[in-house]
């Protein structure tokens, strides 16, 4: 009896040591191999080693749809901004909530004061044209979208085809993690059935249901038909909003980006927004 117990304790002790020690040994010995085997960077380029994201060149891979918003032109013709917002509302069956329910409003593209849109930029002694007119904001369709990381059901995702940060409303469970994750406030939650608040129906697009998050989809459904996004179309030929492929060096968008000085919203966060502004 004594002998057996002694033997048992020895084996048990050795097993515990081996159990605790083995993973550590494996981890230590295999790390260099892992690093060399999986050292390839992800498709759209690693976070830049220096600087704060936006100034870095990104590896152009595939199509990355983007936008340049010329606030100078929008300020010169204020009705353009209203037209663009109205066109979006009509195209996507967006509910219009009354003033007392403004906290539950649903917005895809909307007006905001310059200071609220560009919180990173000092508004101290800033030009009058910037403070007197509202700026316009929408989903930035980030290259590294935080909302996609937060979504537990992959209801929101970045399209591999064109870089649009899309939503699959069928899959959204309404947890609103994406809303907490989005630094731009580009996402809205349906606190009630939106249908009574939709003014006109577009029969080619669905509405949403209570408990679903929604946001700008860069008019994926219109692009498929060879049309421009509704807001771009609403601005007509004014060039106030230009849409195109950021990865195509010959696109009109790139020509503007090369020529004009543009800013992005909160570039320091490293989300790499695809929407640029000329102020």
């Amino acid at each position: 009896m004594d002998k057996q117990r002694r033997k048992f304790l020895k084996i048990a002790g050795a097993s515990v040591v081996a159990g605790i020690g083995a993973p550590a040994v494996i981890k230590l010995t295999s790390t260099p191999a892992l690093a060399s085997g999986h050292g390839t960077p992800p498709a759209h380029g690693e976070a830049p080693a220096h600087g704060h994201g936006s100034s870095e060149e990104e590896a152009p891979k595939g199509v990355r749809l983007g936008m340049v918003i010329d606030l100078r032109k929008l300020h010169a013709q204020p009705e353009l901004m209203d037209n663009a917002i109205e066109a979006c509302i009509e195209a996507h069956n967006i509910p219009q909530l009354s003033e007392e329910k403004i906290k539950q409003e649903v917005k895809w593209i909307w007006k905001m004061p310059f200071n609220n849109v560009f919180t990173d930029y000092s508004a101290y002694h800033v030009s009058k044209k910037v403070t007197e007119h509202p700026a316009v904001a929408l989903c930035n369709h980030c290259d590294d979208p935080p909302c996609v990381r937060a979504c537990p059901t992959q209801a929101t995702f970045k399209s591999k085809v064109n870089g649009i940060v899309g939503m699959d409303f069928h899959r959204c469970i309404g947890c609103r993690f994406c809303m907490a994750a989005c630094p731009y406030g580009a996402r809205s939650f349906n606190w009630q059935d939106p249908r009574p608040y939709i003014k006109k129906y577009n029969p080619d697009f669905p509405s949403r249901m209570k408990g679903v998050v929604e946001k700008c989809n860069f008019c994926g459904e219109r692009l498929a038909l060879g049309k421009e996004p509704a807001c771009v179309e609403a601005c007509g030929g004014s060039g106030a909003i230009v849409f195109g492929d950021l990865n195509d060096p010959k696109s009109e968008l790139r020509a503007i980006l090369d020529k004009e000085f543009t800013i992005q919203r909160k570039p320091t966060l490293g989300t790499k927004p695809s929407v640029f502004y000329i102020v």
Binding site: E90, N93, F157, S159, K160, V161, N162, I164, G166, M167, D168, F169, H170, I198, K199, K200, Y201, N202, P203, D204, F205, P206, S207, R208, M209, V212, G220, E221, A224, L225
Partner: protein, 133 residues
């Protein structure tokens, strides 16, 4: 067997009682099979044969949904010279314009409540508020 006279009739009654929902529905109420109304426009052709659609329309719709939203493949199908953009509102309801007389007839019979209509607009619903386009 003891008490044969009570046990056997009792068992028969018990079996009849337990299977009541089956034979009662089978014999009495389930007589009228649903007759979904064909498209009012008289279209005879669909994206797939009627047999396939009857059994698998829900899988096809899910496939279209994943194609369009997730894979960004919004390719417009052309079948028999007619173009079908993938989508419940854009393809199906263009011909089957009366959801109440087509979709609902079977769904009600089978007691299924698909959640399509929580978001997707039926032509009737869409027409209720002045449509654009």
């Amino acid at each position: 067997m003891y008490n044969k006279g009570t046990i056997i009739p009792g068992l028969i009654l018990f079996v009849l009682f337990v299977t009541f929902p089956i034979w009662a529905n089978g014999l009495m109420t389930a007589g009228d099979l649903p007759k979904p109304e064909l498209p009012p426009g008289g279209e005879k052709q669909c994206v797939m044969p009627a047999e396939y659609m009857r059994a698998n329309h829900m899988q096809l719709l899910n496939e279209w949904r994943d194609n369009v939203l997730r894979d960004g493949n919004r390719e417009i199908l052309e079948i028999g010279g007619k173009k079908y953009p993938k989508g419940l509102q854009m393809a199906c309801l263009q011909c089957h314009s009366e959801k109440e007389k087509f979709c609902d007839s079977c769904h009600t019979y089978a007691a299924v409540e698909p959640y399509c209509w929580d978001c997707h607009l039926t032509p009737k619903e869409a027409g209720s508020k002045e449509a654009i386009h």
